[in-house]
Symmetry: C2
Subunit: 321 residues, 2 copies
C-alpha cells in the first residue's frame, strides 16, 4: 500500500549534492514511498542523471530561491516566497496527498514558516521541536521543547508532553511513555514559577507523569520524555552535545598519551568509532516539529545522503501518526 507522499526541501542542507543523491537512493531502497521534492528543478535533474530509480515516484516542484542560515527567519519567510522551503510549506498545506515534510534548512525559518505559512494545529498552542536523545539503556528519550519556544506558559509545557507522548506511542512504539519535567531538583516543590504551575497541570493530566527530574539524568533513560521550556531544553541539548564532544576528545588524547605502542590505538579507534555512532543524534532521523497543521522533520544542517534515508524512514512512521 502506498501511503501519503513525503515532501523534501532539497536545498536546506549544507551538502545539497549528497542530499539529492539520497533522494535517488530512497526511491531505490524503500518501497511504497512517493516523494515530492522542492528546489531548482534543472539542478536536481542534473544531479539525478544516470541514477537508477522509478521516475514515476518522484515529483519535482521548481523553486528558484534558497533560504540560508544567514537569513533572518521571519524576514526570509516573508521575502523568499519562491524558496524551496516556502514552496514546500505551501504544497504541504494545500495538498492532501502529502503527509509530512523534511527540511535540513535554517531551523528558525522552518519554525517561522510552519507558523506563518502552514498554520498552527490550534490557536492557543505553539508548535514544539522534539529531539530524540540516544539514552544509556540503548533506547531513546524525547526532549520537547528543544528550542522552538522560549518564555512558555504552563499550558504550553503540558501540550509539549501530549505531543511527545503521541510521538512515542505511534512512532517509537513505547506504549505508556513516562514524562519527566525538567527542573532543578526531583522533589515536587523544586523549580521556578513556570515549572511549578506546569507541574500541577501535568499531574492532573492523563499523561504518565513521573514528576520533576534533573538534567544529570537526561541520558539515563529513566524517563521517555523530558518536558521543558525551549530555552532550557536548548541549553540541555547543546550542553549534552558539547560535553560529549569535549569528554570524547579529552579521552582520546589521554589514551594516545598513555598508549605504549602505536598498535594499542587500533582497538581504541574501533571503540571511539562505535561511541560516535552511539552518540549520533541523527541516526534516528531529525528533530520533529509537532503542533503545526502537519508534522515537519527538521534534519541537521550537515544532512547528507545517509540522513535522507533515516529521515524518510522516520517520516513514513510520522505520516501514520
Amino acid at each position: 500500500m502506498v501511503g501519503k507522499k513525503i515532501l523534501i526541501d532539497a536545498f536546506g542542507s549544507d551538502n545539497p549534492d549528497s542530499f539529492i543523491q539520497g533522494i535517488a537512493r530512497v526511491l531505490r531502497e524503500t518501497e511504497g514511498v512517493n516523494l515530492v521534492v522542492t528546489g531548482n528543478k534543472e539542478y536536481i535533474e542534473n544531479q539525478l542523471i544516470g541514477e537508477d530509480f522509478d521516475k514515476n515516484r518522484l515529483e519535482i516542484i521548481h523553486a528558484e530561491q534558497i533560504i540560508t542560515n544567514d537569513d533572518y527567519p521571519v524576514e526570509a519567510i516573508r521575502k523568499k516566497r519562491n524558496s524551496s522551503l516556502c514552496v514546500g510549506l505551501e504544497a504541504l498545506k494545500k495538498r492532501d496527498d502529502i503527509g509530512c515534510m523534511i527540511s535540513a534548512g535554517n531551523t528558525g525559518a522552518v519554525i517561522a514558516g510552519a507558523v506563518l505559512l502552514l498554520g498552527r494545529a490550534s490557536s492557543q498552542d505553539r508548535p514544539t521541536l522534539l529531539t530524540i536523545l540516544p539514552n544509556d539503556k540503548g533506547g531513546f528519550t524525547c526532549l520537547a521543547d528543544c528550542g522552538a519556544n522560549v518564555d512558555c506558559k504552563p499550558h504550553h509545557l503540558l501540550k509539549f508532553g501530549e505531543y511527545a507522548t503521541e510521538y512515542c506511542q505511534k512512532v517509537l512504539a513505547i506504549e505508556n511513555p513516562k514524562v519527566g519535567l525538567l527542573s532543578v531538583g526531583t522533589e515536587d516543590k523544586k523549580g521556578n514559577a513556570l515549572t511549578k504551575e506546569a507541574f500541577a497541570l501535568l499531574k492532573q493530566s492523563n499523561l504518565n507523569f513521573a514528576g520533576n527530574m534533573e538534567s544529570n539524568t537526561a541520558l539515563s533513560g529513566d524517563v521517555d520524555i523530558i518536558v521543558a521550556d525551549g530555552f532550557w531544553g536548548n541549553v540541555l541539548l547543546k550542553s549534552i552535545e558539547g560535553t560529549a564532544k569535549s569528554v570524547a576528545t579529552r579521552m582520546f588524547n589521554l589514551l594516545k598519551k598513555h598508549a605504549e605502542k602505536e598498535s594499542d590505538m587500533l582497538f581504541v579507534k574501533r571503540a571511539i568509532k562505535e561511541l560516535m555512532s552511539l552518540l549520533d543524534f541523527t541516526s534516528q532521523g531529525g528533530a520533529i516539529l509537532l503542533g503545526a497543521k502537519k508534522p515537519i522533520v527538521k534534519a541537521h544542517g550537515s544532512a547528507n545522503e545517509e540522513t535522507v534515508i533515516n529521515t524518510v524512514k522516520q517520516a513514513i512512521k510520522i505520516c501514520n501518526m
Copy 2:
C-alpha cells in the same frame, strides 16, 4: 602573616570523620591559617586524638545539631539554631576575625542561612552560587548562577557577572575576564525576555562582555565567566556532570569490548583515571556563595579529607578578596 580565620562547618559532609581528619591535615600542612570549627565538640576532639598539629591554631565552637540533606532549607535554618551550620553562620556574622566559611552541607540550607542569618551584601541583590568548571584549555570557567536563584531579574544577572569578575581577578588571577551570557544562539538578538534585557545591561556595564554564548561551548574556555539565571545554570551544570559520566562509562565499556587482551586495559585504566581528575569539579575547591555579607565556600556533599585541603586553600585566597 596570619590573615583572617577560616570557619569550617564540620558536620555538613556525608563523611564527617574523613572531613575532620582533613582539619588536622590542613593545620599540619598549611602555614599561617587559623581555623574555627563548629560541631559536636566531644566528637571532633575524639576524632583528632593522636593527630599531630598546633592546637593553638584550632578553636572548636560546640554545636549539638546537624542539618541533613533531608531537611527543608528554610525550616532547618529556623528550627535548628544549634546546628553546626547555624552556629557557624552566627559566628561568621559577628566575629571580625573570621573571613570566610566552608560548609559541605545541604546547599539550600547554606543559601537560606546566608540570607536569613548572615544577611545580603545589598538589599536589592541576591547572593549567587558560582561554580568553577575545568575547561578544554586546561583553565577554568566560572558559572554564575549555578542554582541559588531562579526567576531572576535582569539586574541580578548583571550582578552575577560583577561578582564573578571580581572572583576571577582576585582568586583565579585572570586580569580581564571575558563574560558570556548563556543563551540559545550567539547573535545579539537571540534569547528570551530575561536575557534580552540582561544583554543590554551587560553591554552598558564596565565588564568585559563578550555577548551571547551557547551551552555547547561551556567547556571550551572561550569565556572565563558564564552568566545565567540559576535555573538554566543548574540545568547546564548538572547536564555537564551527567553527560561526562555517561560518555566516560560508555567509552570504558566499549574499550573493554574492543580490547584484544586483558593487558590492553592497563593503559586504558590509567587514561580513565587521568580523565576523572581532569573532570573533577572539586579539585579547585567548592562552589562559592558571593553576595552575602561574607563569602561562603560550598563544598560537595561527598567532601572528604582532600576536599578540606582544597577548600581551605581556596578560602585563604577568598579572604583576601
